[in-house]
């Protein structure tokens, strides 16, 4: 990578093709490598590395900046229209299967309208907690802030925290994160 005019395609006087040819040969010389000891290749490589690193670093720092300064609140959940309370038969069947209590088992799903998958996901941890067998009615309510569903932490914030789940199973409403 050391400089040496002897490797200069022009200085070596090999093939000359006029002014355009000289220009091209200088450009070609800029791509020379370590074996030809021409300074141009070192410069091109250094510029390429510097340019790439600056581009990548500033782009990444931009992402870091925007993520530090811009809050995530209400971004990660697509808020949907609310609808009337309705029993979810499928989930009643789910609870009956796992909570073979003789009493009435009900499941009330308030807003937002949950897909079958979402509802099951929230109920799944209940399958592991046999304390639920003590209760006849399981009332599931989802936190609502300013009339809109807030599912910022759907797993850990709702029924999966079993202490909270037990609390609202006794008839209390689930506590609201970020009311």
């Amino acid at each position: 990578m050391n400089s040496s005019m002897s490797a200069d395609p022009v200085a070596t006087g090999r093939k000359r093709t006029g002014q355009a040819g000289v220009l091209v040969r200088y450009l070609a010389g800029a791509f020379e490598g370590s074996t030809t000891k021409f300074w141009g290749w070192s410069a091109v490589r250094a510029l390429a590395v510097l340019g790439f690193l600056l581009f990548a670093a500033f782009t990444s720092l931009g992402w870091l900046h925007v993520n530090i300064t811009k809050p995530l609140k209400n971004e990660q959940v697509s808020l949907r229209d609310t609808y009337a309370i309705s029993p979810a038969e499928l989930d009643v069947a789910l609870l009956r299967r796992w909570l073979p209590a003789a009493g009435k088992i009900g499941y009330l799903c308030e807003k937002p309208p949950l897909t079958c998958c979402e509802t099951r996901m929230r109920l799944a941890p209940l399958l592991l907690d046999y304390d639920w067998q003590k209760y006849d009615v399981v009332l599931v309510d989802f936190p609502v802030a300013q009339g809109r569903a807030l599912l910022e932490s759907p797993s850990y914030g709702l029924v999966t925290a079993l202490s909270e789940a037990r609390a609202f199973a006794r008839g209390k409403r689930i506590y609201r994160r970020n009311p």
Partner: protein
């Protein structure tokens, strides 16, 4: 505070197990920073894999989770320490910054790692539960592995739980469940730490792997290419199993390439590579495809590299490394329902496989995803739907480094004139376009650079059997993904929309590694100056 310390203890013990495992099998001591980075990263991934296997076997054997797993972990730790002492050789490791990994490499690695980890930590702290599959699949499975009742964990395989894909392998859920057991409660900190750990381990791995093959400077640049990628960052914060899977893909190939550089057959590195491939199969179902692809690559290596007896013995060591994980996977699969790709197949399989419109759709979605990512995790990082400028810049940069200057000098004169003229024409045409869209003038500019690279690229560099083996593995995995998409029983467009970005990421670190293997070495002391031994 107690939960934090317990979580750190869980991860610390896992790393130590991995470290002693790696250093007992990698009998030639890591000689420089590149090898030590590679070994340290391997220790994290393999350590997490070992403790996850241990945790799953405990739950399967005793029917429920217990904090007794801590004692089992400590017992395994002692075993690995003893194994390391028994296999230790007299040659001491070399300290300090060795040749090929200097201040530039170290600075670039640390800078880009710090920025990437800062982004991931910021978003993880605001969305501690990760993205949807982390909640609904991976951490959900962990809750079942963490169940206290006798045999309760098998409730995961109830037909009602089909939505969580209970056939997905258990490595990540078992890691999370083990962390919760150490912490004493199910806290988001554990999966967050796991995601964070694999993020840093993957950055260290790509740096160490490329540095040990092509020198520290290129290793650091490979780290920058990966760390500044929005797909990488988006996958890291989602807490999905795709990050560990990509880690194990790269680890297995990198260890095999490292073994190929040794002058004598190295059983330990082959066993470690086999372990890494096995851990990939225990991480996601795609890992089983990877084991096949890795085997195909090594068979090609066997054919090309000569010394058949040595190579066959190495293949046996590789298989031995895979065996424990395959056994655990089969045990897990004996409980779980079949995967939907198998159970959902109808009689129209061949019709789907030969469908041209399906193939077109896959290619179209791939192009769309590369141009403008649609996944919400990437959107988290960038906050805007943007072109992958990073991809373009990285490609051009990497291509430039692929040039063999001597060869280029011999060929460029007339072609160079043509390319410069084309570039000028493209620029003139580009300025006349009304929008800043990615127009044809950009394609011409890229084509010009590509032509320079083709003219200057020394194809002999691609003839190295070790390189060909790695490239074959990469190609077979991606070909397998294509076939799986063609055959999927689900709606193809839906499946592509929700998975193609993650599948791109699976082989992205491996792609970067393979591309850097083909680049001209940079720096006088690069190990890549001398072509690696087949």
């Amino acid at each position: 505070m107690g939960s934090l310390l317990s979580t750190l203890l869980a991860f610390g013990i896992a790393w130590l197990i991995g470290y002693f495992l790696v250093t007992s099998l990698w009998r030639m001591r890591p000689r420089d920073t590149a090898d030590r980075l590679l070994a340290g990263a391997a220790a994290f991934g393999l350590g997490m894999g070992v403790v996850a296997v241990l945790d799953f076997l405990w739950v399967a054997a005793f029917g429920k989770a217990s904090r007794g797993i801590v004692l089992a972990d400590l017992a395994v730790l002692v075993l690995t320490v003893v194994a390391r002492r028994l296999t230790r050789k007299a040659s001491p490791p070399v300290g300090g910054w060795p040749r090929g990994f200097g201040w530039f490499s170290g600075s670039v690695f640390l800078l880009f790692s710090a920025i990437a980890l800062g982004i991931v930590a910021t978003i993880l702290s605001r969305a501690p539960d990760g993205a949807w599959d982390a909640i609904a699949v991976w951490n959900m499975h962990a809750r079942f592995f963490n169940a206290g009742g006798n045999g309760d964990w098998k409730a995961l395989f109830d037909p009602l739980m089909e939505f969580t894909h209970p056939d997905y392998p258990p490595l990540i859920p078992a890691c999370v469940a083990r962390g919760w057991r150490y912490a004493g409660q199910a806290i988001p900190l554990v999966p967050m730490t796991l995601a964070f750990g694999f993020t840093f381990a993957l950055l260290a791995l790509i740096t160490g792997a490329v540095a040990s093959a092509r020198g520290g400077n290129l290793g650091a640049l490979a780290c920058a290419v990966l760390a500044a990628s929005p797909i990488f960052l988006g996958t890291a914060l989602s807490q999905y199993a795709d990050m560990p899977l990509a880690f194990f893909f790269l680890l297995a190939v990198a260890l095999l390439h490292r073994a190929d550089q040794e002058s004598e057959p190295h059983a330990g590195l082959h066993v470690l590579a086999g372990l890494a491939a096995g851990m990939a199969a225990l991480t996601k179902n795609e890992g089983s495809l990877f084991m096949v692809a890795l085997g195909a690559g090594r068979l090609l290596h066997l054919l090309l590299a000569g010394k058949a007896r040595h190579r066959i013995r190495n293949l046996a060591w590789l298989g031995l490394g895979m065996a424990p994980a395959v056994g655990v996977l089969l045990l897990y699969k004996s409980f779980s329902p079949p995967n939907y790709l198998v159970s959902g197949q109808a009689k129209d399989l061949w019709q789907k496989l030969l469908s041209w419109p399906r193939a077109q759709l896959i290619v179209e979605q791939l192009r769309n995803e590369l141009e403008r990512p649609h996944s919400f995790s990437v959107g988290f990082v960038q906050r805007v739907r943007a072109w992958h400028w990073h991809l373009l810049a990285s490609s051009l940069f990497v291509l430039l480094f692929g040039i063999d200057s001597r060869r280029l000098r011999r060929r460029l004169s007339r072609w160079g004139l043509l390319l410069v003229l084309l570039g000028i024409l493209a620029d003139i045409a580009g300025t006349r376009l009304a929008t800043g869209a990615f127009g044809w003038h950009w394609l011409v500019a890229m084509g010009s650079v590509l032509a320079i690279v083709i003219l200057g690229f020394d194809l002999r560099r691609l003839g190295n059997p070790s390189f060909l083996a790695a490239a074959t593995t990469l190609l077979v995995v991606n070909a397998g993904y294509f076939v799986v998409y063609m055959a999927t029983p689900l709606d193809l467009r839906w499946q592509l929309t929700f998975s193609i970005e993650r599948l791109i990421f699976h082989t992205m670190p491996l792609s970067i590694f393979v591309v850097f293997l083909a680049m001209a070495p940079w720096g006088r002391s690069s190990p890549g100056e001398a072509p690696s031994r087949p």
